[in-house]
């Protein structure tokens, strides 16, 4: 009788194991041509506006180096992670396997960042985050192949908590999207605020990317008895929550305090005068007098006919750090890819926001945090006026690996 199906299948299996043993580790082709950089940003979804600005800032940085690294042209391959971890993973695999990029840059959402951190480590693919502020990115999920050119949530928001406590605010209720970056930012604020005498009465969390109508959450916050609402929201979520806060007439009862994401310059057209005389912490504003910043602002204005916003500055830092590292490595991707990240770690360079240094976990530190107020400029356009300045706080511990 013909061998039963099972017999044939067993042969197939043994054949499979045999072939597997002979498979060798795939090597990355070292062709001499262009250096391919995979730029992954959430062009779709609630963070689409900041993503656009980051892309622009990134291009300005590359143009400063003539889009070349000692002779070899730089080729940017873009991918949209749609602020969804599973899509980000798929695009990352395409970068590594199909486009064979030298390194991956970008990634705004910490949710995508966390998902990619393991993949980058396992594929030994250098990953240079532009945002992904959650503390765990360079804490629990730190890796020799991962660097972040922006700052950690604690480094930035701690100063915000300290500022508002120093302004005599005693009680606050916090609001934020329920995902890693949201919790990290609000956590940073709470530490800064409570270390300096403030008290966070209540924390209100709204499902990330799922909440459109904030009336229920805002009503709870308004009636928590706190003096201020401190919130972190960005992109479309920020527009929605600030507008609804005004709709419910809460501007007089309990002010809505945010950071440079809630009152991002890119959102000013949508917010209109709701953003006027809002005081908040920021890591960058166009009128910083340093020479590096004025050069960046002039180049940005020339190409995009408007002042750069915070995200554009972060995109620029991301691009500049990559280009400087490539320059130090003579335009050559090292065989051991971790060397690219370790070279970047030793970099210190002047950025529009100030001096950038990296800590031992490849996370860029904030030299200083500005406190600004949005005022009407002489030409009637809104602009940020500096009020105060704080040193950036350090990163939270959490990385158990050493590299």
């Amino acid at each position: 009788m013909a061998m039963s199906f099972k017999g044939y299948a067993l042969i197939g299996l043994t054949g499979a194991i045999g072939l597997a043993a002979s498979a060798s580790v795939p090597t990355y082709a070292q062709e001499k041509g262009a250096i391919k950089i995979g730029l992954m940003l959430p062009y779709k979804g609630v963070y689409a506006v900041p993503a656009e600005s980051i892309d622009r800032g990134f291009q300005i940085a590359l143009e400063e180096f003539g889009n070349k690294s000692n002779g070899r042209p730089i080729e940017i391959i873009r991918a949209d992670d749609e602020l969804t971890p599973s899509v980000g993973v798929q695009r990352f695999n395409k970068f590594v396997q199909s486009d064979k990029v030298a390194l991956v840059a970008g990634v705004v959402g910490s949710n995508v960042g966390i998902a990619l951190s393991e993949l980058a480590d396992k594929n030994k693919m250098p990953m240079v985050f532009v945002n992904a502020f959650a503390d765990e990115i360079t804490g629990k999920f730190c890796s020799p192949y991962i660097a972040r050119t922006s700052f950690s949530a604690n480094g930035f928001e701690y100063a915000s908590g300290k500022y508002w406590a120093s302004k005599g605010v005693k009680t606050a209720v916090t609001m934020g999207p329920d995902y890693s970056a949201g919790r990290a930012f609000i956590g940073g604020f709470k530490r800064g605020f409570e270390d300096n005498g403030g008290k966070v009465i209540e924390e209100i969390w709204t499902p990330f990317q799922k909440t459109k109508d904030y009336s229920a959450a805002l009503t709870q916050a308004a009636n928590s008895g706190a003096q201020i609402i401190y919130a972190f929201y960005a992109g479309a979520e920020a527009i929605q929550v600030v507008k609804q806060h005004a709709d419910f007439g809460l501007r007089t009862k309990i002010p809505f305090i945010g950071d440079h994401w809630v009152y991002d310059e890119a959102l000013w057209p949508a917010l209109g005068d709701l953003a006027l005389n809002a005081q908040h912490v920021a890591t960058h504003y166009p009128s910083i007098e340093t020479e590096v910043n004025q050069k960046f602002v002039k180049a940005y204005n020339a190409k995009y006919k408007q002042d750069p916003d915070v995200s554009a500055a972060l995109g620029y830092d991301n691009g500049k750090a990559i280009m400087l590292t490539l320059e130090k490595l003579g335009g050559e991707m090292p065989q051991d890819r971790a060397k690219f990240i370790s070279t970047m770690r030793d970099l210190t360079f002047d950025s529009p926001r100030g001096k950038i240094k990296f800590n031992a976990q490849n996370s860029a530190l904030l030299e200083k945090v500005y406190v600004v107020e949005i005022v009407k400029g002489p030409d009637g356009k809104m602009q940020r006026k500096p009020l105060d300045q704080f040193p950036g706080a350090g990163d939270l511990p959490g990385c158990t690996k050493s590299f």
Binding site: A2, F5, A21, V25, Y43, S98, K122
Partner: protein, 334 residues
């Protein structure tokens, strides 16, 4: 000639063409083995990207096979199978990352837990039929999706990362190497296919087919139909959970999006594309689905648009699915 229910695949009443029995069962087995050898040799002559695509196709194929057992063979169309894909992923994540058990303990425990959860849910859902069954399975998966987003223990909407791939150091290989992982998934896929084939050709399987054909008659024959439906629901859940485990190992990561109802819809689509109640149908459907989706996302930003249209055309005019139509062609030629 012995009665042969095995590899002749039955069709849903009227709606689809019967797959005629190829010349002899040996020819069919030979066809399967050549595909098997082809898949084994794949990594040595194809680029890394195609290999990862093949991994994604196989994982999607296992997920679709689980759905096929419930939808194709038992005739119960569910929009909630992604719930078990998520349970598989979360089970392995909790087992390995949180509780620190080795994989060979967490995986079986996950499958047992999934079966234990699926049985009562199945008992509730299979009391309804048709559109109500579609809705109640959708409701259950949305319920667990919402719970997963809010559960702090598993990092809420960010999900869990750091899920280890199997430790193959005994065989002197590391599963982090894409080729080795490809073979690992291939072996699991073949075993799942064998298990499903065994179930479908067993007496239990023949009862499921009977339930799809005419549930009232099966009741009159003396079968406690409800128990078989719950059994089919639980077995389908376990197979979907296997796909969930592989998916979370492939990406080292799992999050609530694995349980979204769009994922269940895509699973049912794969079954329909490949041809329901045919053993290989879901894998063919998964291959067509993954390739079309990847190709579309390369060509245009708006792959959702073309993907939706593709979905509608398949459902409206392509009833038999790929294998159904091939058999129709063979049917006409014979």
């Amino acid at each position: 000639m012995s009665a042969d229910v095995m590899l002749t695949s039955e069709r849903r009443a009227g709606a689809m063409k019967p797959l005629p029995l190829p010349a002899s069962r040996r020819a069919y087995a030979a066809l399967l083995v050549t595909i098997g050898f082809g898949l084994c040799a794949l990594p040595s002559f194809v680029s890394g990207y195609v290999m990862t695509l093949a991994v994604e196709v196989m994982i999607a194929g296992i997920f679709a096979s689980g759905i096929n057992l419930l939808t194709g063979y038992t005739g119960l169309v569910s929009l909630g199978q992604a719930m078990f894909l998520g349970f598989g992923g979360y089970g392995i994540a909790i087992g390995t990352a949180l509780l620190g058990w080795p994989l060979w303990i967490s995986a079986p425990v996950t499958l047992v837990v999934v079966a234990a959860i699926a049985a009562p849910i199945g008992a509730i859902c299979t009391r309804t039929r048709g559109v109500e069954f579609l809705l109640i399975t959708l409701a259950f998966s949305q319920m667990f999706y919402g719970a997963a987003i809010k559960l702090r223990w598993t990092n809420g909407s960010d999900g869990m990362t750091g899920i280890p791939r199997p430790d193959l150091s005994l065989l002197g290989m590391s599963a982090d190497n894409p080729t080795v992982f490809y073979y690992y998934v291939l072996v699991v896929a073949v075993l799942s296919l064998l298990m499903l084939w065994r179930i479908v050709t067993s007496p239990f399987g023949s009862v499921l087919v009977g339930i799809r054909e005419n549930e009232r008659r099966m009741m009159s024959m003396g079968y406690a139909v409800a128990n078989y439906k719950v059994g089919s629901f639980a077995l389908a859940a376990v197979i979907c959970a296997v796909a969930g485990i592989l998916q979370s190992q492939y990406t080292y990561f799992v999050n609530p999006d694995a349980m979204s109802w769009q994922m269940s819809g895509e699973g049912v689509l794969m079954v329909i594309i490949g041809g329901a109640n045919v053993i290989l149908g879901p894998f063919v459907g998964a291959a067509v689905f993954v390739v079309v989706k990847q190709a579309l996302s390369m060509i245009t930003e708006e792959y959702n648009l073309f993907f939706g249209i593709f979905f509608m055309l398949v459902v409206a005019f392509f009833r038999g699915g790929v294998l159904g139509s091939i058999s129709a062609l063979i049917g006409k030629r014979q």
